[in-house]
Amino acid sequence: MNQEQKNVTSSDEPEASVPQVHGRFQVLALRGRLDAAAAQAIQKQCSALRLDGVKHVALELSKVTFVSSSGLGVFLALTEEFKEANGSFHLVAPSNTVAAVIKLLNLHRFLSIELSLDHLARS
Protein backbone atom coordinates (compact mmCIF):
# COMPACT_ATOMS: atom_id res chain seq x y z
CA MET A 1 0.00 0.00 0.00
CA ASN A 2 1.16 3.52 -0.80
CA GLN A 3 2.53 5.00 2.42
CA GLU A 4 1.29 8.47 1.56
CA GLN A 5 -2.36 7.40 1.52
CA LYS A 6 -4.64 8.67 4.20
CA ASN A 7 -5.28 6.04 6.83
CA VAL A 8 -8.59 5.18 8.42
CA THR A 9 -7.69 3.78 11.79
CA SER A 10 -9.20 0.94 13.73
CA SER A 11 -7.99 -0.30 17.03
CA ASP A 12 -5.59 -2.96 15.79
CA GLU A 13 -5.26 -2.92 12.01
CA PRO A 14 -5.26 0.59 10.59
CA GLU A 15 -5.82 -0.04 6.92
CA ALA A 16 -7.95 1.62 4.30
CA SER A 17 -7.20 2.57 0.76
CA VAL A 18 -7.43 5.71 -1.25
CA PRO A 19 -10.73 5.61 -3.15
CA GLN A 20 -10.42 3.73 -6.42
CA VAL A 21 -12.67 4.59 -9.32
CA HIS A 22 -14.76 1.69 -10.55
CA GLY A 23 -17.12 2.84 -13.28
CA ARG A 24 -19.30 5.52 -11.74
CA PHE A 25 -18.39 4.44 -8.22
CA GLN A 26 -15.63 5.46 -5.85
CA VAL A 27 -14.67 2.33 -3.94
CA LEU A 28 -12.89 2.24 -0.59
CA ALA A 29 -11.46 -1.12 0.38
CA LEU A 30 -11.42 -1.63 4.14
CA ARG A 31 -9.63 -4.23 6.18
CA GLY A 32 -9.38 -5.24 9.81
CA ARG A 33 -11.68 -4.27 12.66
CA LEU A 34 -14.39 -1.74 11.99
CA ASP A 35 -14.76 -0.43 15.54
CA ALA A 36 -15.99 2.97 16.75
CA ALA A 37 -12.82 4.87 15.92
CA ALA A 38 -12.55 3.38 12.43
CA ALA A 39 -16.26 3.90 11.84
CA GLN A 40 -16.00 7.59 12.66
CA ALA A 41 -13.03 8.00 10.34
CA ILE A 42 -14.86 6.25 7.48
CA GLN A 43 -17.90 8.43 8.00
CA LYS A 44 -15.75 11.56 7.75
CA GLN A 45 -13.93 10.28 4.67
CA CYS A 46 -17.12 9.34 2.82
CA SER A 47 -18.87 12.59 3.78
CA ALA A 48 -15.86 14.48 2.48
CA LEU A 49 -16.18 12.61 -0.84
CA ARG A 50 -19.84 13.57 -1.02
CA LEU A 51 -19.01 17.22 -0.35
CA ASP A 52 -16.41 17.00 -3.13
CA GLY A 53 -19.24 16.07 -5.47
CA VAL A 54 -18.88 12.30 -5.54
CA LYS A 55 -22.35 10.77 -5.95
CA HIS A 56 -21.79 7.02 -5.66
CA VAL A 57 -19.55 5.43 -3.05
CA ALA A 58 -18.97 1.80 -2.13
CA LEU A 59 -17.08 0.08 0.70
CA GLU A 60 -15.36 -3.20 -0.17
CA LEU A 61 -15.58 -5.34 2.93
CA SER A 62 -14.10 -8.74 2.04
CA LYS A 63 -11.18 -8.21 4.43
CA VAL A 64 -13.10 -6.75 7.37
CA THR A 65 -12.74 -9.11 10.32
CA PHE A 66 -15.19 -7.46 12.70
CA VAL A 67 -17.88 -4.79 12.56
CA SER A 68 -19.24 -3.10 15.68
CA SER A 69 -22.63 -1.48 16.13
CA SER A 70 -20.95 1.84 15.41
CA GLY A 71 -19.78 0.47 12.09
CA LEU A 72 -23.32 -0.57 11.24
CA GLY A 73 -24.58 2.81 12.39
CA VAL A 74 -22.20 4.50 9.98
CA PHE A 75 -23.40 2.26 7.12
CA LEU A 76 -26.96 3.36 7.86
CA ALA A 77 -26.01 7.02 8.24
CA LEU A 78 -24.10 7.05 4.94
CA THR A 79 -26.88 5.22 3.09
CA GLU A 80 -29.29 7.93 4.18
CA GLU A 81 -26.82 10.75 3.55
CA PHE A 82 -26.08 9.69 -0.05
CA LYS A 83 -29.75 8.98 -0.76
CA GLU A 84 -30.65 12.53 0.28
CA ALA A 85 -27.93 13.84 -2.00
CA ASN A 86 -29.46 11.87 -4.92
CA GLY A 87 -26.54 9.50 -4.89
CA SER A 88 -26.01 5.99 -3.59
CA PHE A 89 -23.96 4.09 -1.01
CA HIS A 90 -23.14 0.40 -1.27
CA LEU A 91 -21.45 -2.42 0.60
CA VAL A 92 -19.53 -4.80 -1.60
CA ALA A 93 -18.41 -8.38 -0.92
CA PRO A 94 -19.00 -8.34 2.85
CA SER A 95 -16.99 -10.93 4.73
CA ASN A 96 -18.90 -13.73 6.45
CA THR A 97 -18.67 -11.94 9.80
CA VAL A 98 -20.08 -8.73 8.42
CA ALA A 99 -22.80 -10.49 6.44
CA ALA A 100 -23.89 -12.47 9.50
CA VAL A 101 -24.31 -9.39 11.67
CA ILE A 102 -26.16 -7.48 8.95
CA LYS A 103 -28.55 -10.38 8.48
CA LEU A 104 -29.02 -10.83 12.25
CA LEU A 105 -30.19 -7.24 12.56
CA ASN A 106 -32.31 -7.38 9.39
CA LEU A 107 -30.36 -4.51 7.94
CA HIS A 108 -29.93 -6.23 4.59
CA ARG A 109 -33.36 -4.92 3.66
CA PHE A 110 -32.15 -1.35 3.91
CA LEU A 111 -28.50 -1.50 2.95
CA SER A 112 -27.45 -1.90 -0.65
CA ILE A 113 -25.20 -4.96 -0.73
CA GLU A 114 -23.44 -6.32 -3.81
CA LEU A 115 -21.57 -9.61 -3.97
CA SER A 116 -18.60 -8.25 -5.91
CA LEU A 117 -17.28 -5.23 -7.74
CA ASP A 118 -18.56 -6.72 -11.01
CA HIS A 119 -22.05 -6.95 -9.55
CA LEU A 120 -21.67 -3.36 -8.39
CA ALA A 121 -20.68 -2.20 -11.85
CA ARG A 122 -23.72 -3.92 -13.34
CA SER A 123 -26.12 -2.50 -10.75
Binding site: S69, S70, L72, G73, A77
Partner: protein, 443 residues
Amino acid sequence: MLTSRTETGKKPPSEAKKKSPAENMFRAPGERQRHSLYSFFELSKELDASLDVYGFADRALFNFMGNLGTPRAVLWLLPRGLDEPPVLIRAFGVMEVTASAIGQACIEPLVGRFSRKERIVLSSDIEQILDAKTQQHILDSKLNLFAPLLAPGALIGMVALGRKVGGETYDPFELEVFQASLDLLAVAIVNADLFEALQENNRKLHNANERLHELDRLKTEFVNNMHHELRTPLTVMHSYVDSLLEEVPEGTQEHEHLEVVMAQTNKLKKMVLDLLDFSGLNVNKIGVELASVDIGQLVQWYYEARRRGVALDLRELRLEVEPSLPKVLCDPKRVEQILETLVDNAVKFTSQGTHVDLVARTVSGGVCIDVRDNGKGIPAEQLHTLFEPFRQVDGSKTRATGGLGLGLPLARQLAEAMRGRLEVESTVGVGTTFTLTLPQAQR
Protein backbone atom coordinates in the same frame (compact mmCIF):
# COMPACT_ATOMS: atom_id res chain seq x y z
CA MET B 1 -29.80 -24.54 31.48
CA LEU B 2 -30.87 -27.85 32.98
CA THR B 3 -34.16 -28.09 34.80
CA SER B 4 -35.96 -31.07 36.25
CA ARG B 5 -39.00 -32.13 34.32
CA THR B 6 -42.13 -34.04 35.08
CA GLU B 7 -43.27 -36.92 32.97
CA THR B 8 -45.27 -34.60 30.80
CA GLY B 9 -42.14 -32.58 30.08
CA LYS B 10 -43.36 -29.53 31.97
CA LYS B 11 -41.20 -27.77 34.56
CA PRO B 12 -42.23 -28.18 38.21
CA PRO B 13 -44.07 -25.10 39.55
CA SER B 14 -41.11 -24.04 41.74
CA GLU B 15 -38.91 -23.57 38.72
CA ALA B 16 -41.44 -21.73 36.66
CA LYS B 17 -40.84 -18.39 38.44
CA LYS B 18 -41.14 -15.11 36.56
CA LYS B 19 -37.82 -13.43 35.70
CA SER B 20 -37.24 -9.73 36.44
CA PRO B 21 -36.39 -7.42 33.55
CA ALA B 22 -32.81 -7.27 34.83
CA GLU B 23 -32.52 -11.02 34.87
CA ASN B 24 -34.06 -11.17 31.45
CA MET B 25 -31.40 -8.77 30.32
CA PHE B 26 -28.55 -10.95 31.38
CA ARG B 27 -30.02 -14.26 30.40
CA ALA B 28 -31.18 -13.16 27.02
CA PRO B 29 -31.31 -16.31 25.01
CA GLY B 30 -31.66 -14.90 21.51
CA GLU B 31 -28.76 -14.04 19.25
CA ARG B 32 -30.29 -10.66 18.56
CA GLN B 33 -30.56 -9.83 22.24
CA ARG B 34 -27.01 -10.99 22.91
CA HIS B 35 -25.88 -8.63 20.18
CA SER B 36 -27.82 -5.82 21.83
CA LEU B 37 -26.05 -6.43 25.14
CA TYR B 38 -22.72 -6.63 23.41
CA SER B 39 -23.41 -3.21 21.85
CA PHE B 40 -24.02 -1.85 25.33
CA PHE B 41 -20.66 -3.19 26.52
CA GLU B 42 -19.00 -1.80 23.40
CA LEU B 43 -20.39 1.64 24.18
CA SER B 44 -19.06 1.54 27.73
CA LYS B 45 -15.56 0.93 26.33
CA GLU B 46 -15.91 3.50 23.57
CA LEU B 47 -16.86 6.45 25.77
CA ASP B 48 -13.34 7.06 26.96
CA ALA B 49 -11.94 10.20 28.54
CA SER B 50 -10.00 11.25 25.46
CA LEU B 51 -13.20 12.34 23.74
CA ASP B 52 -14.96 15.66 23.80
CA VAL B 53 -18.73 16.00 23.77
CA TYR B 54 -18.81 15.79 19.95
CA GLY B 55 -16.77 12.60 20.07
CA PHE B 56 -19.19 11.13 22.62
CA ALA B 57 -22.12 12.11 20.44
CA ASP B 58 -20.64 10.45 17.35
CA ARG B 59 -19.83 7.20 19.10
CA ALA B 60 -23.10 6.96 21.02
CA LEU B 61 -25.34 7.82 18.09
CA PHE B 62 -23.60 5.42 15.70
CA ASN B 63 -23.84 2.74 18.36
CA PHE B 64 -27.60 3.33 18.80
CA MET B 65 -28.20 3.44 15.05
CA GLY B 66 -26.28 0.26 14.40
CA ASN B 67 -27.69 -1.66 17.33
CA LEU B 68 -31.28 -0.62 16.84
CA GLY B 69 -31.25 -0.50 13.06
CA THR B 70 -32.27 3.09 12.37
CA PRO B 71 -30.66 5.51 9.93
CA ARG B 72 -31.60 8.57 12.01
CA ALA B 73 -30.37 9.82 15.36
CA VAL B 74 -30.05 13.26 16.97
CA LEU B 75 -28.47 14.50 20.19
CA TRP B 76 -29.14 17.82 21.89
CA LEU B 77 -27.64 19.09 25.14
CA LEU B 78 -29.00 21.53 27.70
CA PRO B 79 -25.86 23.22 29.03
CA ARG B 80 -27.80 25.69 31.18
CA GLY B 81 -30.75 23.51 32.07
CA LEU B 82 -34.02 24.87 30.79
CA ASP B 83 -32.97 28.52 30.92
CA GLU B 84 -31.85 28.35 27.31
CA PRO B 85 -32.96 26.36 24.27
CA PRO B 86 -31.29 22.99 23.66
CA VAL B 87 -28.06 23.05 21.66
CA LEU B 88 -27.86 20.67 18.71
CA ILE B 89 -24.70 18.59 18.98
CA ARG B 90 -25.11 16.02 16.20
CA ALA B 91 -27.77 14.96 13.72
CA PHE B 92 -27.50 11.93 11.44
CA GLY B 93 -30.10 11.39 8.75
CA VAL B 94 -31.79 14.70 9.61
CA MET B 95 -30.89 18.16 8.35
CA GLU B 96 -29.24 20.24 11.06
CA VAL B 97 -31.59 23.18 10.67
CA THR B 98 -34.60 20.85 11.00
CA ALA B 99 -33.11 19.08 14.00
CA SER B 100 -32.34 22.39 15.69
CA ALA B 101 -35.90 23.63 15.18
CA ILE B 102 -37.37 20.37 16.51
CA GLY B 103 -35.23 20.52 19.65
CA GLN B 104 -36.31 24.05 20.41
CA ALA B 105 -40.01 23.46 19.73
CA CYS B 106 -40.34 20.10 21.46
CA ILE B 107 -38.33 20.66 24.64
CA GLU B 108 -41.25 22.07 26.63
CA PRO B 109 -43.79 19.28 25.98
CA LEU B 110 -41.03 16.70 26.40
CA VAL B 111 -39.77 18.07 29.71
CA GLY B 112 -43.27 17.68 31.12
CA ARG B 113 -43.27 14.01 30.17
CA PHE B 114 -39.66 13.34 31.19
CA SER B 115 -40.39 14.80 34.61
CA ARG B 116 -43.21 12.28 34.95
CA LYS B 117 -40.53 9.57 34.59
CA GLU B 118 -41.43 8.71 31.01
CA ARG B 119 -38.12 7.56 29.56
CA ILE B 120 -39.37 7.10 25.99
CA VAL B 121 -41.82 9.51 24.37
CA LEU B 122 -43.11 8.84 20.88
CA SER B 123 -43.39 11.78 18.53
CA SER B 124 -47.02 10.82 17.96
CA ASP B 125 -47.67 11.42 21.70
CA ILE B 126 -46.74 15.10 21.47
CA GLU B 127 -47.72 15.90 17.89
CA GLN B 128 -51.15 17.23 18.82
CA ILE B 129 -49.78 20.01 20.99
CA LEU B 130 -47.17 21.17 18.50
CA ASP B 131 -47.69 23.94 15.97
CA ALA B 132 -48.14 23.05 12.30
CA LYS B 133 -44.62 24.05 11.33
CA THR B 134 -43.05 21.80 13.97
CA GLN B 135 -45.36 18.95 13.04
CA GLN B 136 -44.10 19.31 9.48
CA HIS B 137 -40.50 19.32 10.71
CA ILE B 138 -41.09 16.08 12.59
CA LEU B 139 -42.74 14.54 9.55
CA ASP B 140 -39.82 15.59 7.35
CA SER B 141 -37.23 14.39 9.84
CA LYS B 142 -38.92 10.98 10.28
CA LEU B 143 -37.90 11.02 13.94
CA ASN B 144 -39.99 8.57 15.89
CA LEU B 145 -39.07 8.73 19.55
CA PHE B 146 -37.42 11.01 22.11
CA ALA B 147 -35.55 9.99 25.26
CA PRO B 148 -33.98 12.06 28.06
CA LEU B 149 -30.32 12.19 29.05
CA LEU B 150 -30.46 12.22 32.82
CA ALA B 151 -27.54 12.87 35.13
CA PRO B 152 -28.10 12.79 38.90
CA GLY B 153 -30.66 15.48 39.63
CA ALA B 154 -30.75 17.05 36.18
CA LEU B 155 -31.92 16.74 32.62
CA ILE B 156 -28.75 17.39 30.62
CA GLY B 157 -30.03 16.67 27.13
CA MET B 158 -32.06 14.40 24.92
CA VAL B 159 -31.76 11.95 22.06
CA ALA B 160 -34.21 11.26 19.24
CA LEU B 161 -34.24 8.24 16.95
CA GLY B 162 -35.94 7.50 13.68
CA ARG B 163 -37.98 4.43 12.93
CA LYS B 164 -36.30 1.09 12.55
CA VAL B 165 -35.27 0.11 9.08
CA GLY B 166 -38.15 -1.71 7.42
CA GLY B 167 -40.69 -0.05 9.73
CA GLU B 168 -40.53 -2.62 12.56
CA THR B 169 -41.26 -1.44 16.10
CA TYR B 170 -38.60 -1.41 18.79
CA ASP B 171 -39.04 -4.29 21.18
CA PRO B 172 -39.02 -3.73 24.95
CA PHE B 173 -35.62 -5.40 25.42
CA GLU B 174 -34.02 -3.14 22.85
CA LEU B 175 -35.51 -0.08 24.51
CA GLU B 176 -34.22 -1.19 27.93
CA VAL B 177 -30.70 -1.53 26.59
CA PHE B 178 -31.08 1.83 24.84
CA GLN B 179 -32.08 3.52 28.10
CA ALA B 180 -29.16 1.93 29.94
CA SER B 181 -26.87 3.20 27.16
CA LEU B 182 -28.28 6.71 27.57
CA ASP B 183 -27.47 6.61 31.28
CA LEU B 184 -23.94 5.59 30.42
CA LEU B 185 -23.65 8.46 27.95
CA ALA B 186 -25.01 10.98 30.47
CA VAL B 187 -22.52 9.96 33.12
CA ALA B 188 -19.66 10.08 30.62
CA ILE B 189 -20.62 13.60 29.52
CA VAL B 190 -20.92 14.88 33.08
CA ASN B 191 -17.57 13.33 34.07
CA ALA B 192 -15.86 14.72 31.00
CA ASP B 193 -17.35 18.16 31.67
CA LEU B 194 -16.02 18.21 35.21
CA PHE B 195 -12.55 17.10 34.17
CA GLU B 196 -12.42 19.51 31.27
CA ALA B 197 -13.69 22.39 33.42
CA LEU B 198 -10.74 21.80 35.72
CA GLN B 199 -8.26 21.70 32.86
CA GLU B 200 -9.84 24.72 31.20
CA ASN B 201 -9.68 26.73 34.42
CA ASN B 202 -6.02 25.86 34.80
CA ARG B 203 -5.34 26.88 31.24
CA LYS B 204 -7.18 30.18 31.67
CA LEU B 205 -5.27 30.89 34.88
CA HIS B 206 -1.98 30.23 33.14
CA ASN B 207 -2.98 32.47 30.22
CA ALA B 208 -4.18 35.21 32.54
CA ASN B 209 -0.77 35.14 34.21
CA GLU B 210 1.01 35.39 30.88
CA ARG B 211 -1.16 38.32 29.89
CA LEU B 212 -0.53 40.05 33.18
CA HIS B 213 3.19 39.75 32.54
CA GLU B 214 2.69 41.15 29.06
CA LEU B 215 0.60 44.04 30.37
CA ASP B 216 3.21 44.72 32.99
CA ARG B 217 5.87 44.82 30.31
CA LEU B 218 3.75 47.16 28.16
CA LYS B 219 3.23 49.42 31.13
CA THR B 220 6.97 49.47 31.80
CA GLU B 221 7.71 50.27 28.17
CA PHE B 222 5.16 53.08 28.26
CA VAL B 223 6.62 54.55 31.41
CA ASN B 224 10.17 54.30 30.06
CA ASN B 225 9.07 56.16 26.95
CA MET B 226 7.38 58.84 29.02
CA HIS B 227 10.46 59.19 31.20
CA HIS B 228 12.66 59.77 28.18
CA GLU B 229 10.19 62.15 26.50
CA LEU B 230 9.72 64.26 29.60
CA ARG B 231 13.33 64.29 30.73
CA THR B 232 14.72 65.83 27.56
CA PRO B 233 12.67 69.05 27.59
CA LEU B 234 13.09 69.32 31.37
CA THR B 235 16.87 69.15 30.99
CA VAL B 236 16.76 71.88 28.36
CA MET B 237 14.50 74.04 30.52
CA HIS B 238 16.75 73.55 33.56
CA SER B 239 19.93 74.52 31.74
CA TYR B 240 18.43 77.67 30.16
CA VAL B 241 16.89 78.84 33.42
CA ASP B 242 20.19 78.15 35.18
CA SER B 243 22.00 80.25 32.60
CA LEU B 244 19.47 83.10 32.94
CA LEU B 245 19.79 83.07 36.76
CA GLU B 246 23.51 83.79 36.38
CA GLU B 247 22.88 86.70 34.02
CA VAL B 248 19.93 88.36 35.76
CA PRO B 249 20.99 90.46 38.82
CA GLU B 250 20.01 89.02 42.17
CA GLY B 251 17.32 90.79 44.18
CA THR B 252 15.38 91.82 41.05
CA GLN B 253 11.83 90.68 40.39
CA GLU B 254 13.02 88.84 37.23
CA HIS B 255 15.54 86.87 39.35
CA GLU B 256 12.76 85.99 41.81
CA HIS B 257 10.50 84.79 38.98
CA LEU B 258 13.33 82.72 37.51
CA GLU B 259 13.97 81.13 40.90
CA VAL B 260 10.29 80.13 41.02
CA VAL B 261 10.55 78.62 37.50
CA MET B 262 13.73 76.74 38.53
CA ALA B 263 12.06 75.37 41.65
CA GLN B 264 9.09 74.08 39.62
CA THR B 265 11.40 72.61 36.99
CA ASN B 266 13.26 70.73 39.73
CA LYS B 267 9.95 69.57 41.13
CA LEU B 268 8.94 68.16 37.71
CA LYS B 269 12.34 66.47 37.35
CA LYS B 270 11.85 64.77 40.70
CA MET B 271 8.35 63.63 39.75
CA VAL B 272 9.67 62.06 36.54
CA LEU B 273 12.47 60.31 38.44
CA ASP B 274 9.96 59.04 41.01
CA LEU B 275 7.78 57.72 38.19
CA LEU B 276 10.73 55.80 36.80
CA ASP B 277 11.62 54.37 40.21
CA PHE B 278 8.02 53.31 40.71
CA SER B 279 7.84 51.41 37.45
CA GLY B 280 11.26 49.78 37.81
CA LEU B 281 14.02 50.07 35.27
CA ASN B 282 13.14 47.36 32.70
CA VAL B 283 13.80 48.30 29.18
CA ASN B 284 12.25 45.43 27.14
CA LYS B 285 11.03 45.57 23.60
CA ILE B 286 8.61 43.04 22.15
CA GLY B 287 10.97 40.08 22.00
CA VAL B 288 10.62 37.35 19.44
CA GLU B 289 12.99 34.44 18.95
CA LEU B 290 12.71 33.37 15.36
CA ALA B 291 13.35 29.82 14.31
CA SER B 292 12.46 27.50 11.44
CA VAL B 293 9.27 25.78 12.62
CA ASP B 294 7.10 22.92 11.34
CA ILE B 295 3.95 25.02 11.42
CA GLY B 296 1.64 22.13 10.51
CA GLN B 297 2.77 20.27 13.60
CA LEU B 298 2.45 23.39 15.77
CA VAL B 299 -1.11 24.04 14.63
CA GLN B 300 -1.99 20.37 15.12
CA TRP B 301 -0.58 20.46 18.63
CA TYR B 302 -2.45 23.66 19.43
CA TYR B 303 -5.71 22.15 18.11
CA GLU B 304 -5.32 19.07 20.34
CA ALA B 305 -4.66 21.30 23.35
CA ARG B 306 -7.68 23.54 22.74
CA ARG B 307 -10.42 21.43 21.20
CA ARG B 308 -11.84 19.92 24.35
CA GLY B 309 -11.92 23.27 26.11
CA VAL B 310 -13.80 24.75 23.16
CA ALA B 311 -16.18 21.77 23.20
CA LEU B 312 -16.84 22.58 26.85
CA ASP B 313 -18.22 25.90 25.60
CA LEU B 314 -20.34 23.89 23.13
CA ARG B 315 -18.58 25.14 20.07
CA GLU B 316 -16.69 22.74 17.87
CA LEU B 317 -13.06 23.42 17.02
CA ARG B 318 -12.22 21.88 13.65
CA LEU B 319 -8.83 21.47 12.03
CA GLU B 320 -7.75 21.45 8.41
CA VAL B 321 -4.02 21.29 7.71
CA GLU B 322 -2.79 21.12 4.14
CA PRO B 323 -0.32 18.29 3.70
CA SER B 324 3.35 19.19 3.10
CA LEU B 325 3.24 22.71 4.48
CA PRO B 326 6.65 24.44 4.20
CA LYS B 327 8.51 25.36 7.37
CA VAL B 328 8.04 28.94 8.48
CA LEU B 329 10.18 31.47 10.28
CA CYS B 330 8.45 32.35 13.54
CA ASP B 331 8.48 32.25 17.32
CA PRO B 332 6.30 29.26 18.26
CA LYS B 333 5.33 30.74 21.63
CA ARG B 334 4.20 33.96 19.98
CA VAL B 335 2.24 32.05 17.34
CA GLU B 336 0.52 30.17 20.14
CA GLN B 337 -0.22 33.49 21.86
CA ILE B 338 -1.82 34.87 18.69
CA LEU B 339 -3.91 31.73 18.10
CA GLU B 340 -5.03 31.86 21.72
CA THR B 341 -6.35 35.41 21.27
CA LEU B 342 -8.08 34.57 17.98
CA VAL B 343 -9.74 31.36 19.22
CA ASP B 344 -10.79 33.00 22.50
CA ASN B 345 -12.43 35.82 20.53
CA ALA B 346 -14.13 33.38 18.15
CA VAL B 347 -15.61 31.49 21.11
CA LYS B 348 -16.66 34.68 22.94
CA PHE B 349 -18.37 36.25 19.94
CA THR B 350 -20.28 33.22 18.60
CA SER B 351 -23.25 31.26 19.91
CA GLN B 352 -23.26 27.74 21.23
CA GLY B 353 -23.59 25.03 18.61
CA THR B 354 -21.43 26.91 16.09
CA HIS B 355 -17.98 25.94 14.91
CA VAL B 356 -14.55 27.51 14.80
CA ASP B 357 -12.24 26.32 12.02
CA LEU B 358 -8.47 26.33 12.29
CA VAL B 359 -7.04 26.09 8.77
CA ALA B 360 -3.36 26.02 7.78
CA ARG B 361 -2.61 26.46 4.08
CA THR B 362 0.28 27.28 1.79
CA VAL B 363 0.42 30.68 0.08
CA SER B 364 3.05 32.30 -2.05
CA GLY B 365 6.09 32.91 0.14
CA GLY B 366 4.72 31.36 3.31
CA VAL B 367 1.82 29.89 5.21
CA CYS B 368 -1.56 31.29 6.27
CA ILE B 369 -3.40 30.18 9.38
CA ASP B 370 -7.09 31.08 9.30
CA VAL B 371 -9.29 31.18 12.37
CA ARG B 372 -12.82 31.16 10.94
CA ASP B 373 -16.06 31.35 12.81
CA ASN B 374 -19.66 31.29 11.63
CA GLY B 375 -20.83 33.86 14.15
CA LYS B 376 -22.77 37.03 13.47
CA GLY B 377 -19.88 38.85 11.78
CA ILE B 378 -18.50 42.39 12.21
CA PRO B 379 -19.83 45.41 10.26
CA ALA B 380 -17.34 46.70 7.69
CA GLU B 381 -17.11 50.14 9.26
CA GLN B 382 -15.91 48.62 12.55
CA LEU B 383 -13.21 46.34 11.13
CA HIS B 384 -10.49 48.98 11.20
CA THR B 385 -11.00 49.61 14.91
CA LEU B 386 -10.30 46.00 15.85
CA PHE B 387 -6.55 46.50 15.95
CA GLU B 388 -6.60 49.85 17.76
CA PRO B 389 -5.57 49.59 21.41
CA PHE B 390 -8.27 50.12 24.03
CA ARG B 391 -11.07 50.09 21.40
CA GLN B 392 -13.84 47.49 21.54
CA VAL B 393 -16.33 46.63 18.81
CA ASP B 394 -18.76 45.30 21.39
CA GLY B 395 -18.18 46.86 24.79
CA SER B 396 -20.69 44.55 26.43
CA LYS B 397 -18.38 41.53 26.19
CA THR B 398 -14.91 41.30 27.71
CA ARG B 399 -11.99 40.85 25.37
CA ALA B 400 -9.17 38.35 25.66
CA THR B 401 -7.13 40.67 27.84
CA GLY B 402 -9.75 41.35 30.45
CA GLY B 403 -11.66 44.09 28.68
CA LEU B 404 -8.73 46.40 27.88
CA GLY B 405 -8.94 45.76 24.13
CA LEU B 406 -5.25 44.90 23.83
CA GLY B 407 -5.57 41.30 22.58
CA LEU B 408 -5.85 41.99 18.85
CA PRO B 409 -3.49 45.01 18.73
CA LEU B 410 -0.89 42.94 20.56
CA ALA B 411 -1.49 39.94 18.29
CA ARG B 412 -0.89 42.13 15.24
CA GLN B 413 2.29 43.59 16.75
CA LEU B 414 3.55 40.09 17.42
CA ALA B 415 2.74 39.02 13.87
CA GLU B 416 4.63 42.00 12.46
CA ALA B 417 7.56 41.39 14.82
CA MET B 418 7.81 37.97 13.14
CA ARG B 419 7.72 39.68 9.71
CA GLY B 420 4.20 38.37 9.18
CA ARG B 421 0.74 39.90 9.00
CA LEU B 422 -2.58 39.62 10.80
CA GLU B 423 -5.66 40.51 8.79
CA VAL B 424 -9.41 40.16 9.14
CA GLU B 425 -12.38 39.63 6.82
CA SER B 426 -15.96 39.53 7.93
CA THR B 427 -19.49 39.34 6.56
CA VAL B 428 -22.44 40.22 8.79
CA GLY B 429 -24.66 37.20 9.26
CA VAL B 430 -22.04 34.80 7.86
CA GLY B 431 -18.94 34.99 10.03
CA THR B 432 -15.42 36.30 10.51
CA THR B 433 -11.99 35.07 9.44
CA PHE B 434 -8.72 36.22 10.98
CA THR B 435 -5.67 35.29 8.89
CA LEU B 436 -2.15 35.08 10.28
CA THR B 437 0.46 35.00 7.51
CA LEU B 438 3.99 33.85 8.31
CA PRO B 439 6.99 33.86 5.96
CA GLN B 440 8.53 30.64 4.71
CA ALA B 441 11.82 29.73 6.35
CA GLN B 442 14.78 30.00 4.02
CA ARG B 443 16.44 26.69 3.28
